[in-house]
Amino acid sequence: MATPSLLDDLGEEVTGIVAPVSLCMAVTVLLVRLLNPEGISSSNTVLIASIAYQEQSSDSSGKKFGGALLNALIFVAVVAGMTVVLFLLFKYKCYKFIFAYMGFAVFNIFFFITGALFIQVMQVIDLHIDAFSLAYGLFNFSIVGTLGLLFMPIPLLSKQVYLIWVGIIVAYIFTFIPEWTAWVILCFMALYDIVAVLVPGGPLKALVELAIERQQELPALIYEARPAGGRPYVRGWGNRGQRGEDGPEGAGPEGGPPGGPPGGPDANGAVMAAPPNMVPSPHNNSRGPRPVAEASSPAAGGSLEMRQPTTRAMAQAPGQAAAAAAAAGSFDPYEAPGSPGGSGAGRRRAAGASGGGWVQAATTRVAPAVGAAGGGGGVDSETQVLPMRLSTAGAADAAMEEQWQQQPQRLRQRSQGGGAGPGPRPVAEGREQGDWQPLPAAPEAGAAGAALRVRPGGPGGPPEPLGAADSGRSSPRSHTSMEPLLNQRAAAAVLDRDLRDFDGAAGTSSRGRFSNSSAGPQGREMRSLQPSAGAAPAGKGALDPFLRGPSSGLAAAGGAAGGEPARLTSPGTMGVRAVAPAFDAERLAEAVRRNTLDGELPASTPPPQLAGAPPPDGHHPHHRGHGHHDGAGPQSDADGGELPDLPDSIKLGLGDFIFYSMLVGRAAMYDFMTVFAAYLAIIAGLGLTLLCLAVFQKALPALPFSIALGVAFYFLTRLTLEPFLVPLATNLAFF
């Protein structure tokens, strides 16, 4: 097979975001043209946007502008206010309330508003549907959407579809904002986004910091693109993150009965750009902290989150096993495509690769919760090291690790997602290889799985080619090979012990969490277990906050889980299924060898099929991973002269979707030329923002560039392009 071309994967992460944004805009424009061809605005649809001044077409421009300014100020103030409210709720631990509210808002969007729009569309296109079918379908759609976005894991594609749907609906509602007010609101929201995401102080930042400190996910609706390169998508905490404020955000101001979730603006607020955190890597404490990108919960502001690919990728590997077990069905599609190199493992950086990466990955997700902890060197370490520790701990730990594996999947996801939702997730930077500790336990774990797990990707592991540049290396195996070997009994025992320990430390919340975890084969549950598992050896206290992290979601959902008393003790609740190891003996041995070859991992060895020289500076052809060099081995530092790199999967807050689509929808009310001009401008702005993301490696506000360009191009098109092109076209003179 010929060497893969550079163009094959380059930019995949970006199209993973550009495509859904384009889709959201396209459907919004379609809805606007279909249902509102006259471009009638209504001051009553979005009450919050028209409190101070109701626009009349007969007013003078000055009055309209002044009124619009006032409206926009109030709108932004409401958004900020809701962020404060959210912050307070979060601070006083009213997680259930937050999730309940968001669930209510999202359900409204999916059921009432979608239903109303659907009926209108049916009327316009002259189709008919009976009330019972409509109610049935709509109800199912709404319930699945609400539960899937907020409380339960559903396949990534479904989640993406639902998120895009929320964006479409809210944007469509926002197009009813009167014209002047709408444009001024867009500008003000872009400014607010900058302030909220970048300026220290203010409710959004405080919220993010609190989330980091508590290692708790913030509820937020964030769109996370599938990891590029076919890496498996790890469902994990990330999911939790997806709910979000954004949902409410959009609807927020709406006063109508369906009541867009008031949280709307809030969601924006929720966006946070957490400043990169330094998360010391557990193993490699000597290395020093690694910069961590925080995922902010994007809430409306929609900051782009950077996820460190490495970490994430890594997590994937183990995660896969877990995931496979946990969510076999949904998993496969995600994993299949990429798996081999794709898997996050590839990511890069494997530099540290092998172990490090994976540790990181696992940690990542965990990390966010955990890592966030500033203090947490220990915590971080823990997380990071989790797998490691497990291995060192011994056989029992191996079992734990098993559980852990499952978690990473989610973690990965999260990490990938970048802050998926909840709060900022610090994403650990790739760790170097050096961080990786040999897994003495691996052999003792006995199961190939243990080694398997530990190793991010071993030679066989889909997730990650050890140390190799991700690009080339592709694990031959599919994710299924990563299925953990699980010694259920041991795992259960360990879990039990952990629980007991943990419970002591964590208290009831963890209990609840655990019971949730045990809920089922969902990775999520395992997730919470993981931390505890990890915690056990590492030190529970540190993990407590971490554990709490998922709990919020879990707790909320947990109403579902219900049971307070941990059901964990029964092995069956672990949701881990023993599966024959995919690795054969050689691969396992190799994996072990690799793991232990800490500094000697051929980080700079190009993937076998690649002929080229090893990347001198970890330059990733696919721009994956962050600046760690493979070759550098333990040191590579984030910016060692590499080209800036984008995280493997970019997260974009739903608020960004909403305001982009609102802008384009508003442009659609004038003419299609403005639609296309605004669309190209927004995409260009998005590209520019992603460029900055790659360069600055921290969560950034996604609104400013796009809104600025979009608004400018809209008015320029209206002013100059249209009077020029239309006569040309109608006179049949073209160039």
Partner: protein, 240 residues
């Protein structure tokens, strides 16, 4: 009528969309490059329109429009040199990346990129000259110009979109090849071809001129596409 809309949509943009799906959508980078190229050419269009803002609407005679077309094409050709420069920079960067990572970045990839640049140009023109007016046909009306009672304005736009999509895409590839091989004759020929195609549309000012101009433009597009294919084929052979 909606049938007008879909018919003309597929006539004018069908081949372009098919081309996109088959060739460009396969690689994310090309999609992004095409989007960037379209954005760039939109900026150029805005710039041109800003220059002419004071003069529009021109009287519907051939003279002013000749001048306007000449100036517009001149600006566009000047910008084409700029896109070549950007293309060079990108090629260098990607070359380095490929060398570093061991991936292949060969002639085929460079041609892909040139095609993406050209496609962005063609798509931008097709969208703004044609697609932005097409939704008017979803209503109940249509529009004809006196000098061309045989084809509606929208049909002419569709044919333009078809023809110029091919022309502009091919011209970019040919131009980049000319720049690459320092053959400025080729570059000049490209500019002249663009002018020629634009001036051909001036035939539409003559009564029934559109019957000649539009098919000739489509034929020119096919010709240039064939030439580009032959060029790429030859280059590929040489490279091998």
């Amino acid at each position: 009528m909606p049938i007008d809309f879909f018919g003309l949509f597929f006539l004018g943009l069908g081949p372009g969309i098919a081309f996109f799906i088959v060739l460009i959508a396969r690689k994310s980078f090309l999609v992004l490059l095409a989007l960037f190229s379209a954005f760039l050419w939109l900026v150029v269009l805005l710039f041109i329109s800003a220059i002419f803002r004071a003069f529009v609407p021109l009287s519907s005679t051939i003279g002013p429009y000749t001048g306007m077309l000449a100036a517009s094409v001149f600006i566009e050709e000047a910008v084409r040199f700029g896109t070549w420069w950007l293309h060079r920079v990108t090629l260098n960067t990607l070359d380095n990346m490929a060398r570093a990572s061991g991936h292949r970045f060969g002639l085929l990839d460079k041609l892909y990129m040139a095609v993406a640049w050209g496609y962005g140009h063609g798509a931008c023109h097709a969208v703004f000259f044609f697609l932005s007016l097409l939704p008017l046909t979803t209503g109940d009306g249509t529009l004809y110009v006196g000098t061309c009672p045989q084809m509606s304005v929208f049909l002419v736009g569709a044919l333009y979109s078809l023809a110029f999509g091919m022309i502009l895409t091919s011209l970019t590839v040919i131009a980049f090849d000319g720049y690459m091989s320092r053959s400025y004759l080729v570059v000049a020929a490209v500019a002249l071809l663009h002018w020629g195609a634009a001036f051909l549309t001036l035939l539409n000012f003559q009564q029934d001129g559109c019957l000649v101009a539009m098919p000739v433009l489509v034929a020119l597009g096919l010709l240039l596409t064939g030439y580009t294919v032959a060029l790429c084929w030859k280059k590929g052979k040489v490279a091998r």
